[in-house]
Symmetry: C2
Subunit: 250 residues, 2 copies
């Protein structure tokens, strides 16, 4: 049985708590979150709001708090020779206070409140200073996912950068297209099958093979027509920049 | 029974042929494609490669050829008072030669060879000069889809512009992130669950509600770190432009 304390109950912390709670072989013995008046989670896990009350008997402490708070928070922890990991894609392992045994447990996914995710297919990127700790993290990861990978901090930073493109930037393109439709009182619902199919295609086709459209076929007439239709300056910049990026591959 | 001739057997033409063939109430009486030596499709539909051999007894002629060929091709058709429609998002209805009854039958989806699509959920955007023709197109559309919408050429151009953002540009972001991972010999497979979830989220959340990430939380430290990691000039431009687009919404 792997005994876990989860520190922070934002989206990542809550999803990890839920999946661990449902999984045999792992026991969340305690959760920490600031500003709570509850004494247990809905699942019955003891909740505390004071750092001084953190149980010192766990095998691993999972810090799931905002990136910029990791350094200070891990410094404050009164633990001795304990494995403390964070769950962030963009923060190096050595940001964790060096008084701990340090590691990473990074589930490569976007988590939202009230959205179910299938952990089995989520890559869990792990890293640790000590071989024994890495083994423990691998064991913990394999309890919930079929894809546990050893990724060092420099690789993880690269993955996080790539993730920003396929997640945050893709979502911004959804947002812009919603804006464009709204201008003519058209319904964003119309685009949802296309959005879904565009993502689905990539499961079996490389992005290079999947590409279609005006820029891909060098259709300057349509590109110019589109540019003449766009009014917002930033939308035009986005259109131009991504069009140039596609054209350059030809 | 609606009698259809399909002119052009690229991705759109083939997918329409397949779904019509499977659907009661519609009969593809003929297909036209240049440079074929076959005399029927695999499904048994007669195939011709000469414009002069086009059957003049159909109810509707669906032109599914490249955008820039629509004008010249429809001029060449030796039909009299027949409904001729094209399937393109980006081309106005009046591009079709005016000697025909003109219309549009635009399935709002990305089609690839060997990829199954569910026509029931694909919006079919229709337009026609004559009320009777519009009725016929609606009837034809409703045989294959649950979502047939009247869209005029100006609205369709706007939809096509928005579609470029969520389809071609999104795919280019997939491509860039694949490039970024390749630089460190990391596997693009790692990002696929994130790609899938990002698209899935949008089915129930607005793009505004779904957004997360460095730009969304105004995390300048991470943005600057990412910019320092990017080497290719165009990648940097894409990162900057989309980051500004997200920041501007705050």
């Amino acid at each position: 049985m792997i005994r876990v304390v989860i520190l922070g109950f934002g989206n990542v912390g809550q999803h990890l708590h839920k999946i661990f709670h449902e999984t045999k072989g792992v026991n969340v013995i305690q959760g920490y979150t600031r500003n709570t008046t509850e004494t247990t989670t809905k699942a019955g896990t003891p909740l505390i709001s004071k750092i001084s009350e953190i149980d010192s008997s766990a095998d691993v402490y999972i810090v799931a708090i905002p990136d910029d708070a990791i350094k200070g928070f891990t410094k404050e922890l009164k633990l001795k020779d304990k494995l403390v990991v964070h769950t962030s894609g963009g923060v190096a392992m050595n940001t964790i206070s060096k008084k701990h045994h340090r590691g990473i447990f990074y589930p490569l996914q976007t988590f939202s409140k009230n959205t179910e995710v299938d952990f089995k297919i989520i890559p869990i990127c792990i890293e640790a200073e000590k071989e024994n700790d890495l083994k423990l993290l691998r064991k913990l990861g394999e309890l919930i996912s079929n894809k546990v990978v050893d990724i060092n901090s420099s690789e993880r930073a690269q993955i996080h950068l790539a993730a920003v493109f396929v997640n945050n930037f893709v979502n911004e393109l959804y947002h812009i297209s919603e804006d464009i439709l709204k201008e003519k009182s058209l319904d964003f619902e119309l685009l949802k099958p296309l959005i879904s199919e565009t993502a689905k295609k990539i499961e079996t086709l490389s992005p290079s093979k999947a590409q279609t459209g005006p820029a891909n076929r060098g259709d300057i007439v349509t590109i110019e027509k589109h540019l003449s239709m766009i009014e917002a300056e930033l939308q035009e910049k986005v259109y131009m920049t991504l069009t140039r990026s596609i054209l350059k591959r030809k």
